[in-house]
């Protein structure tokens, strides 16, 4: 990767243009609008030619690392291969040209896709129904919690305002609960890294709306007491929420519905191979057990007796939907990609995805546990966590290891999460990585462990070969420069 320093604003020159539009023959002018409603001067946007734009963004892309660039063992993120056919399908004009408010008769294919994907996800997860509206995992969590509250409220049970969240949970769990107006109660992990049932029991009473769990949890360990937890929570009148961020290892083997979960989300950008896009767009469909189907958000896709699909906006009296959570019907383009993936795998291959992901994680873990500290022994699922180097006498930290990996051409694992350990390194290889790739990574990790002893400085000052080196994040936060205008005011804009 080479360093390229320009911002598009710095390529701008008065009089250049990058667009072509039809000639304006309407004989009307924006000057007809009252002056008080018009902008006083044009926005300071770049004026650049089309080739300038293409080259600029191509240069930017070359400072980026994606799954297509190399191994991306980012724990909890399931960075699997994003099949190209999915992109081709999503770009089909017959889908990308549809206005979201078009009459149902003109979008039967789109609505059928919605129904078919929801049905496939229900089958894979053991849930009764799905909404595909949520835009991301965290958005799915929020939607799912709204469904839980809607359910309790519909029964006149307004006392349930507390939600139980394990200390190992993803940060979005407590944050989603707070946005949903719930009070977060933390349950501890035991020494085996699992939810401590003894710690859970005293928390359960008639103020508990439910519990949010990830299974396997963020240590990559299967919560084997899940059935007992489910009956305890159900007995006290609470519901179980499944954070589907870690669903990948269960593909083909375990269904959340069968474990006793009432509500769950899936991350289509994790388990169902849609691209992460540098942070989005993703999709976070939410599945529910049968008694919660009436609480799914609107709009809903329904199938009439004649086999035609229509959209239900929940305007009938007595509708018990939890409300509307998205402007239209979710990230439809992402849904297309996910269903293309389901079809490519089919029932024959999907059942192999989970086991192969689990095999890769255990293979790396077993190959490295003599060099890195493994806090919990035993078989893991799709990911596992090391607590830093086995020998930490050199002072080399997890951050140093992560940065050194960049030098060797790998993306870093997730670091300093989960919060249970001080030097967490969370590794998730996925089923689309070959044994050769994993062997290469293992070799480099061992080499880094060796460098930590022989030459710790090379780690502490890593990375060395990336377009930029470690950044001054403290100044960035203390004196935020968030726009080009502010950058220019600070004298940091580069000349042409």
């Amino acid at each position: 990767m080479k360093y390229y320093d320009k911002l598009i604003f710095e390529l701008s020159k008065e009089g250049r243009k990058g667009y072509s539009l039809p000639r304006n023959t309407w004989g009307r002018s924006l000057e007809e609008l009252p002056q008080g409603l018009r902008r006083s001067s044009g926005p300071c946007l770049p004026q650049v030619s089309e080739p300038d734009v293409v080259r600029h963004y191509t240069n930017l892309s070359q400072m980026n690392f994606g799954v297509d660039s190399g191994f991306y063992p980012l724990g909890s993120c399931t960075m699997k291969y994003n099949p190209k056919i999915n992109e081709e399908i999503a770009s089909m004009q017959e889908f990308s040209g549809l206005h979201p408010l078009q009459p149902a008769s003109s979008v039967q294919g789109a609505l059928m896709l919605y129904r078919d994907l929801a049905r496939a996800l229900s089958e894979i997860t053991g849930m009764a129904g799905f909404t595909l509206a949520p835009f991301a995992g965290a958005h799915g969590e929020l939607t799912g919690l709204m469904i839980i509250r809607s359910y309790h409220n519909s029964r006149g049970d307004f006392r349930r305002t507390r939600i139980i969240v394990p200390d190992s949970a993803h940060g979005t769990n407590p944050a989603s609960a707070a946005v949903c107006g719930l009070e977060v109660v933390q349950v501890k992990s035991n020494s085996a890294g699992l939810v401590d049932v003894a710690d859970l029991k005293p928390l359960l009473d008639d103020t508990v709306a439910g519990i949010m769990m990830t299974n396997p949890n963020t240590l990559g360990l299967f919560e084997k007491d899940i059935k007992e937890i489910a009956s305890l929570v159900h007995e006290c009148g609470g519901l179980l929420y499944y954070d589907g961020a870690n669903m990948n290892p269960l593909l083909g083997t375990v269904r959340p519905g069968d474990m006793g979960f009432d509500v769950m989300h899936l991350n289509l950008h994790k388990t169902f191979s849609t691209p992460h896009g540098g942070g989005g767009p993703g999709a976070g469909p939410v599945g529910v057990a049968a008694h919660l189907v009436p609480h799914l958000p609107v709009p809903r896709v329904c199938e009439g007796e004649d086999g035609a699909f229509h959209v239900d906006y929940g305007q009938c009296a007595g509708d018990t939907s939890c409300g509307r959570v998205s402007g239209f019907m979710g990230n439809f383009g992402v849904l297309l990609r996910a269903y293309s993936y389901v079809l490519a795998l089919g029932k024959q291959n999907i059942k192999m995805a989970g086991p192969l992901a689990v095999l890769g994680a255990n293979y790396i873990k077993e190959s490295l546990k003599d060099c890195f500290r493994l806090p919990v022994e035993g078989v893991c699922k799709h990911e596992f966590v090391f607590d830093g180097l086995a020998d930490q006498s050199s002072g080399v930290t997890t951050l140093d290891i992560a940065k050194r990996l960049l030098d060797y051409g790998y993306h870093a694992p997730t670091i300093y999460f989960p919060l249970l350990f001080h030097q967490s390194i969370m590794i998730e290889p996925t089923e689309t990585e070959s044994k050769e790739t994993l062997d290469g990574f293992i070799e480099v990790m061992r080499r880094i462990a060796g460098e930590a002893v022989a030459d710790p400085q090379i780690l502490k000052s890593a990375p060395h070969g990336t377009p930029v080196r470690r950044l001054d994040e403290v100044t960035a936060a203390r004196r935020p420069v968030l726009t080009y205008r502010a950058l220019a005011d600070a004298g940091l804009a580069a000349g042409r």
């Binding site: 008080g36 078009q102 767009p281």
Partner: protein, 445 residues
């Protein structure tokens, strides 16, 4: 076995299992209680080859109709430059994660910085975040943000002139979050200033949310709104169409504190409602209350200019339940789309897009009123979409349009219908629509 996305040979699996100390793949699930093992094959379609996948989706596509789009209401059929889709298809952008490792993510970080800069320019705000899910959720986040800035006040006033889906999502978020909503009715097709003043008089309002262009397509005159709102120590939030902001008065010029909206109008394909990208911008003093990802400029160890996710002390992975929001992503790739679009168009191109849309919309407006089948509903200034009162039954009108492959006249009130024209629509197409309506609807008038 053998499947294109899985690289494992039988021999690989055998060797890997050996290292792990397991005999079979099933043994890797030995920690899972047998009563939760599925033990069956999913009832799903058989695996399809790429050819079969194409065939399947072509079949699905043939059940959709390609219509000439004369509808707005939050999703606009603007021209999508081929460069924008080409750039976002680059796999270095597409297959990357959130830029947690800035040393190998300068591409993503730079375009987000550019996006923030351009949104700030369009809205007239000091700063913007890296994007939100969509316009409706960005409005909901703005409302939560206003309450958080106000500390003790938990009521927000919302204009009924906002798009219906935006009002609905704001209502949903507010009801669970413990925010009390009040509604400012419309009078003559615009947000009532008198009703706003009355609503503020209780001194319990944290902020008000009004549209820049409302659900009737009317450009709202927000003169005096900011002074009134600020005199009650509340915040002014404006929901804006960013494309329009190249030519109409910006929320910044109106004195707004927070601006939200959907960047879809910046050339994004309609795609049946998503993916789009919401945005959220604000004045500098509120930046630490802004939810979502934010990118800032800094330098690296060698003094090179570089960019990084910043102000993360606001976010869920640090603050957990005390975070400003639960959002942990953005619509990054769509923010890139908008950034490339804005770079290509520049100030002049965006102005021209608006001028063409304005010209076409006013041409259609006048031609439809001239038919006698419609009358102007409000007589107020509009840009690219407008509302007419239909003198014929709305369902006959919609059917007449569908018969010639046109989507428009969505009902936005009793006999009130929406039309929208962008630069993509040619005069001949509008003439054909008008002639057809005349030929079939005079008999039901």
């Amino acid at each position: 076995m053998g499947f294109a996305y899985f690289p494992h040979t039988d021999e690989d699996i055998r060797l890997m299992l050996e290292r792990v100390g397991a005999g079979r793949l099933e043994d890797l699930y030995s920690d899972v209680p047998s009563d939760v093992l599925y033990g069956k094959e999913y009832s799903l379609p058989d695996a399809m080859s790429e050819l079969e996948i194409r065939r399947y989706f072509s079949g699905l596509a043939s059940r959709n109709s390609k219509l000439l789009c004369l509808c707005g209401l939050g999703a606009y059929d603007h021209y999508s430059p081929s460069v924008a889709s080409s750039v976002i298809s680059r796999s270095e952008f597409q297959t990357a994660y959130t830029p947690y490792q800035p040393e190998v993510s300068q591409g993503t970080l730079r375009y987000i910085f550019e996006f923030q800069s351009m949104i700030a320019e369009l809205t007239g705000m000091d700063c913007a975040n890296a994007s939100m899910y969509d316009g409706a959720t960005s409005a909901a986040e703005a409302v939560i943000m206003a309450v958080s800035c106000a500390k003790k006040k938990t009521k927000v006033l919302v204009s009924e002139g906002l798009l219906p889906q935006v009002v609905d999502v704001v209502k949903t978020y507010a009801s669970y979050n413990g925010i009390e909503l009040g509604f400012i009715p419309c009078c003559g097709g615009v947000t009532s200033a008198d009703a706003m003043t009355e609503g503020l008089s209780g001194e319990d309002v944290a902020g008000i949310l009004v549209p820049g262009i409302n659900r009737y397509g009317i450009i709202e005159n927000l003169d005096g709104f900011a002074d009134e709102v600020h005199s009650h120590k509340a915040l002014l939030m404006v929901y804006s169409d960013p494309s329009s902001l190249a030519v109409i008065k910006t929320p910044g010029e109106w004195g707004a504190d927070i601006v939200c909206g959907d960047a879809q109008s910046l050339g994004m394909p309609l795609c049946f409602g998503g993916p789009y990208a919401g945005f959220l911008a604000c004045r500098q003093e509120f930046v630490r209350k802004l939810p979502g990802r934010i990118v800032g400029a800094t330098s690296d160890l060698d003094g090179k200019r570089a960019f990084v996710l910043t102000l993360q002390a606001r976010e869920q992975h640090i603050r957990r339940e005390k975070a400003t929001s639960n959002i942990c992503s953005n619509q990054s790739l769509m923010a890139l789309y908008a950034t490339v679009y804005m770079s290509l168009m520049g100030p002049e191109g965006l102005r021209e897009v608006n001028a063409l849309s304005y010209g076409g919309a006013h041409y259609l407006h006048d031609a439809l009123v001239d038919t006698g089948l419609f009358e102007d509903a409000f007589g107020k200034p509009f840009l690219k979409e407008f509302t007419l009162r239909a003198k014929v039954p709305v369902d006959s009108l919609q059917k007449a349009l569908l018969d010639i492959g046109v989507f428009g006249a969505v009902e936005v009130g009793d006999s009130l219908v929406n039309f929208c024209v962008t630069e993509k629509v040619a005069k001949e197409e509008l003439d054909r629509v008008v002639e057809h309506l005349k030929s079939v609807l005079y008999e039901v008038l």
